[in-house]
Amino acid sequence: MFAYALRRLFSGALLLVVMSMVTFLLFYASSSTPERYACGQKCTAQQLEQTKAALGYDEPITTQWAKFAKGVVAGREFPDDEALREAAPELVTQCEAPCLGYSTGYGETVRDLISDRLPVSVSLALVAFALWIIIGVLLGVMAALFKGRVLDRGIVALSLIAFAFPTFFVGQIFLTYVSIRWGLVDTPRYSPIAEAGPWAWLTGLMLPAITLALVYMAGYIRITRAFVLETQTEDYIRTARAKGLPQRTVIGKHTLRAVLTPLVTLSGLDLAGLLGGAIITESIFNFNGVGKLSVTAIARFDLPLIVGIVLLVAAIVIAANIIVDMLYAVIDPRVRLG
């Protein structure tokens, strides 16, 4: 198990290195003049040159990548140019070890920018995750137990309908109707749990979290339903029933245990993808999370920030993949890692 984990970590790290190279190639080399976007529409040739030098785009792509990689491992200082640093030592920004770069648009390190907004995205992801997994599994089990009857059809139909409408439309309905016109809920806003307490934190997150959960819920209902139905024909379920175990135990212990494996895979990856920001939901509800940060970064063509966020999300997804595979062996003793 330990050797397996080590090997996976190594290949994950390797994958991340390759990804950083691909990302650099895609963003820094795909456009012949990345400085054009940073400089704006009315940019003279001279300004363009200056911007290029200031952002370090005049160096070869390999050098730019090497500097980035060194920053991640050992940290670095901005601005890059040593002469500039000596000329104005008061403007030098220290960027500590996992340094993802420096955003000229914000005048902050990418690391600080992301870590400021990460709590918002993580809170939103966790509450949404709790909602969709609890309600999704519950409805999925109910649909399976009442297979073919009105309840089953109703659950499946409703989940499909909720899934079919675009997220930004559902979010706008919640915002315009539920919150503003009918006044059922205060306008959603993020209040940190440490300052405002858990209740304000939770209620402020509720509408965006429901919006986000609706996107995923249909899939979870479907999978739970399918796997519960499949397990019902297994011998060990028949044995459990024959032993006279109550329905609660048969479903809650024996059946759900089998459904756990696919659910862990799916939810691990879904949650990981969300931790790096729910772009649409955060934009609709105006939440200052990583998702909204990336939209701003893209609008300003802030390359270091975009690359930083992309690689952060990728790292989370790769880590989640490893964790999910390790969890397999814990949940299902038949699985041998190696």
């Binding site: 895609l26 795909s30 930004f168 790096g276 992309v310």
Partner: protein, 340 residues
Amino acid sequence: MSLTASSVEQPGDSEFHEPEGDDKAAGKVGVEGRSPAKLAWARFRKDRLSMVSFSVVVLFFAIAVLTPILVAAGVLKPQDSNQDLLNLMTGGLPTEGMSLAHPFGIEPGTGRDLLSRILLGTTLSMTIALSGAIITVIIGTVLGIIAGFTGGVVDGVIGRIIDLTLSFPSTLMLLALSQVVVDRMLDLGIPSGPNGAFVNGFYIVIVLAAFGWPPVARLIRGQVLSIREREFVDAARLMGASRPRIYFKEILPNLWAPILVYFTLLMPAYVSAEAALSYLGVGIKNPTPTLGNVLSGALLYADSYPLFFFTPAIFIAVIVISFNLLGDGARDALDPKAGR
């Protein structure tokens, strides 16, 4: 290319083909040969929900084909502004709702006919989704067959490329790459089209496919792993058939069922994706309508003019639901053992 029993087909041995012409003759004596495709179709037809969703899908394809003709003929006028029907005192809200001339009413602010815009938007959204789904399926199928059949190093490399592609946050990449790639495409001489519609639509198609093919390749690879061990593949190899021939003449015909099902499920996913990207400002832009940008433009009027807000959303939802149901129905019909 039908779902015939090509698994027993031998290269150059036409006797094993479906005896299509003989079917009716055989039917007269009471025995009717039925190919797997016919059996699947019979199963599909028995399922009422599948048939309803199939009709709706056909209807949407009809809309997609007919709308450009009607626009060209001047029946639908997606760009004409009906300023006389707007109330300037309320900031340009229409003075009338649904009417015979404008069945879905008109857009507040611009006064354009909503029905025309939604129908043309449906055409463009469906075109994007269809092209994206076709390219996705082609890339995924070709790479999946090669990986599954060749195995070894090639399989490993394709597997790593799949891991790499799946690790990228796709929405973020679609957004972030749009400026750079669209500019690059224009440099390469891809026509911009009216209002940049062509190059922007083309961008969406290309990137949806670029990030969408890995699951298809995985699915196909899994299927090919078992198909390549079958006797008819060995036979083809022994007869000296070339690799491409084995890939596309021997193996591919056995994959139509999963490809068809996956394709049907990609369509709604891409219609939704186009809408989401429109909201984030990527893709074909107003005044050229797509379902996504019509709906994004309607967000401002969610409260003041709900007709404009709800209509495009309902169109998107109906497309997504009917294609999903069709995909489920196709899966059940093609693979009865899967039984839900």
